[in-house]
């Protein structure tokens, strides 16, 4: 079925997200997700039946329920039967799957969505269950602890210090003051050490939220969007799973993904980085060779809103929306998953010259 041209053009044509909040306990997952699905469809005029492929990202461990993603499908309207897939991962990886599906010519349009409700459980404990079950998970090191080890490694290497980390956090949340969806906006106290060397201000808010994007190919994208955000390249890579095998001050997987996505061919003007911890932005800026002239996280990034499983997709959506609005011509979007930036995805998005 791969009759499509090898260089099929694929674009993000629409993006929507919830207002991210500490808790959405009054809503089930599908109730939280549905307005976002409707918004992203309405903005293109597409109906569910017009979508060739649907792909979602979420994690059962957040809700504590098996196959929770099948319930969320109720919000899509799966009749007549649809072509559908799911990744137990951030929605950015669902977008990657949808992109390959369109690339093969099997689909011209795709709906990608992701959601996460951290409020029912303790997300720090939940995330320990994705760690090596033999050597690491029995010790219950939580996500903040692992990020703090990485932060200390950066400080020891002279790559940052606590005031520089505080500046990263405050710059992101200042940027978020113009983002109506963000959970933490404007000045936020840097606070006490949550896990030294990280202070509460260096850590992301815990919250619930959802996001959705629509992808379309070629002229279909031009019909659906005045200025499509063309995906010029996208790639994802993973580090060795042993934390003690890695150099935590660097992210070779991000660099390689960026290289394969074509990020270094020409400068980008915008970068949406999925760095839930301030220290991780330091690692990513270095790996991606981002200069001071690049607008990093104009949305406020994951330090302003970090709905687990959706925050990476939101980086792609925010970068694309900036191109839609004419605020960016070439943007980089990054998503991560796993402890200490274990897995990394990089997409390069461009708008047509104006």
């Amino acid at each position: 079925m791969t009759s499509a041209p090898r260089d099929r053009e694929i674009a993000v044509v629409a993006f929507a997200q919830t207002d991210h909040r500490r808790t959405s306990e009054e809503l089930s997952e599908v109730e939280m997700l549905m307005p976002v699905l409707h918004e992203v469809l309405d903005s293109t005029g597409l109906k569910t039946a017009d979508i060739d492929f649907t792909c979602s990202g979420s994690s059962d461990y957040l809700a504590g329920r098996a196959f929770s993603f099948t319930l969320a499908l109720d919000g899509v309207g799966a009749w007549p039967p649809i072509s559908e897939s799911h990744v137990e991962m951030d929605g950015a990886w669902a977008l990657y799957e949808a992109w390959t599906k369109i690339l093969t010519g099997d689909a011209d349009t795709a709906l990608v969505y992701a959601y996460g409700k951290s409020s029912p459980g303790s997300v720090r404990d939940v995330l320990t269950r994705q760690l090596d079950p033999y050597y690491v998970a029995p010790l219950w090191p939580d996500s903040v602890a692992l990020a703090a080890l990485q932060a200390q490694a950066l400080i020891d290497a002279g790559d940052t210090d606590e005031p520089a980390l505080a500046a990263v956090a405050s710059r992101n949340r200042a940027a978020a003051s113009t983002n109506p969806h963000a959970q933490l906006r404007g000045p936020v106290p840097q606070g006490d050490h949550l896990l030294q060397p990280l202070r509460t201000g260096d850590c992301p808010p815990i919250g619930d939220g959802a996001a959705a994007v629509i992808l379309a190919a070629g002229d279909r994208a031009r019909d659906l969007c005045a200025r499509p955000a063309w995906i010029r390249g996208i790639d994802h890579r993973i580090e060795a799973h042993g934390l003690g095998v890695r150099d935590l001050t660097d992210s070779p997987s991000t660099r390689l993904a960026a290289e394969r996505a074509g990020a270094f061919e020409r400068p980008v003007d915008t970068a949406e980085l999925h760095a839930p911890f301030s220290s991780q932005e330091v690692v990513l800026r270095k790996a991606l060779r981002l200069g001071e002239d690049v607008d990093v996280n104009p949305s406020g990034g994951a330090l302003a809103a970090n709905p687990i499983m959706a925050a990476g997709l939101i980086r792609i959506g925010e970068a694309a929306a900036r191109i839609h609005r004419g605020r960016s011509d070439r943007a980089l979007a990054h998503a991560t998953s796993g402890p200490c930036l274990q897995q990394n995805l990089v997409a390069v998005l461009e708008g047509e010259p104006r």
Binding site: E25, S28, E29, V30, L37, A78, L139
Partner: protein, 313 residues
């Protein structure tokens, strides 16, 4: 709108995992107070050991006996230990490169405070009193300023090797079913069954989940259905479930409550199991204090005509 329901939910699994030869040797070694690493093709020693080289993906298995002393490569001070963590007093998370190893092991360091910890500090293993062949056989590390321990080759052979671990996992949640299911459960407490009608296809969903899965739109119009209904299909259960106080065989059925757009599940009682049939008219039977019908029993009405429920099969 009534307040959304909430209840504690505990998800607990004892995951049973088998070990390959390298992990088995490493964890058995811990039980015997020995730390083993594995040597890669280019001569690096990985601790904890893995079966495949993380760089080349080559299979590896040459075991090496490394020291019980080592050096902290990075650390983080944890002033509020959480459930399941190695120490219940404030401690440092550390990556420790044991003497003779080229990679670092994650564990806890028992130290009086963050001022007593630094990258590069020397530490040694503190063994757990009772050891079973698990990473927790290392109770933690402790500061140490003595001599480095010796490093030798080790065959990795033990009597009675550990071949598997049971990894207990427990997560605590506060479950909330959301708006639509809260309304459904609230109505049940008054022994009423409430569904929601789809504004688009007009189908009535019971139990409602807040969305029409066919149309993908929100449902909100509440509709009381039942209490009577029709058996649309059924099966006969012949195996007694653990902890279930119901005599077998019994009948489990799909029941379309009057006014509902789809059938829900329920047990049929009050009739011999081999007399249950499609079209049988039934009604719920409640027991004292129950939150949902215990079972459904025949109403005595004539059977429903097939055409009245064929769309609900």
């Amino acid at each position: 709108m009534p307040e959304v329901l909430k209840a504690p939910l505990v998800v607990e699994f004892p995951f049973t995992r088998s070990l390959g030869p390298v992990q088995s040797a490493f964890l058995t070694g811990l039980r015997e107070r020995v730390v083993l690493g594995v040597r890669t093709g280019d001569g690096r020693v990985l601790v904890p050991p893995v079966e495949y080289d993380p760089v080349t993906a080559e299979e590896i298995g040459d075991l090496v006996h490394v020291g019980l002393t080592g050096t902290v490569t990075t650390w983080a001070w944890n002033h509020e230990p959480r459930r399941g963590q190695p120490l219940d007093t404030p401690f440092a998370w550390v990556l420790v490169q044991l003497d003779g190893a080229d990679t670092a092991l994650l564990h806890a360091l028992d130290a009086p405070g963050p001022d007593a910890v630094h990258t590069g500090m020397r530490v040694r293993v503190r063994w757990a009193g009772e050891r079973t062949g698990a990473i927790t056989d290392i109770a933690c590390f402790e500061p140490y300023d003595g001599e480095a321990s010796t490093v030798t080759v080790h065959a990795g052979e033990f009597e009675d090797p550990v071949t598997g671990i049971v990894a207990a996992a427990r997560l605590d949640y506060t479950y909330s079913p959301g708006r639509a299911q809260t309304a459904y459960i609230d109505a049940l407490s008054g022994r009423r069954t409430v569904g929601e009608r789809c504004p688009s296809c007009r189908k009535v969903y019971v139990p409602p989940r807040g969305a029409c899965p066919t149309c993908g739109v929100a449902t909100s119009e509440q509709v009381e259905v039942g209490p009577r209904g029709t058996v649309t299909t059924f099966c006969i259960v012949n195996i007694k479930a653990k902890n279930l106080d119901i005599e077998v065989p019994y009948v489990y059925a799909h029941i379309a409550l009057d006014g509902a757009g789809l059938a829900l599940h329920g047990r049929i009682g009050g009739i011999p199991y081999d007399e249950v049939r499609m079209g049988l008219r039934v009604e719920p039977v409640w027991t004292e204090g129950a939150r949902y019908p215990d079972h459904y029993r025949p109403t005595g009405e004539p059977d429903a005509d097939y055409d009245t429920y064929r769309e609900l099969l």
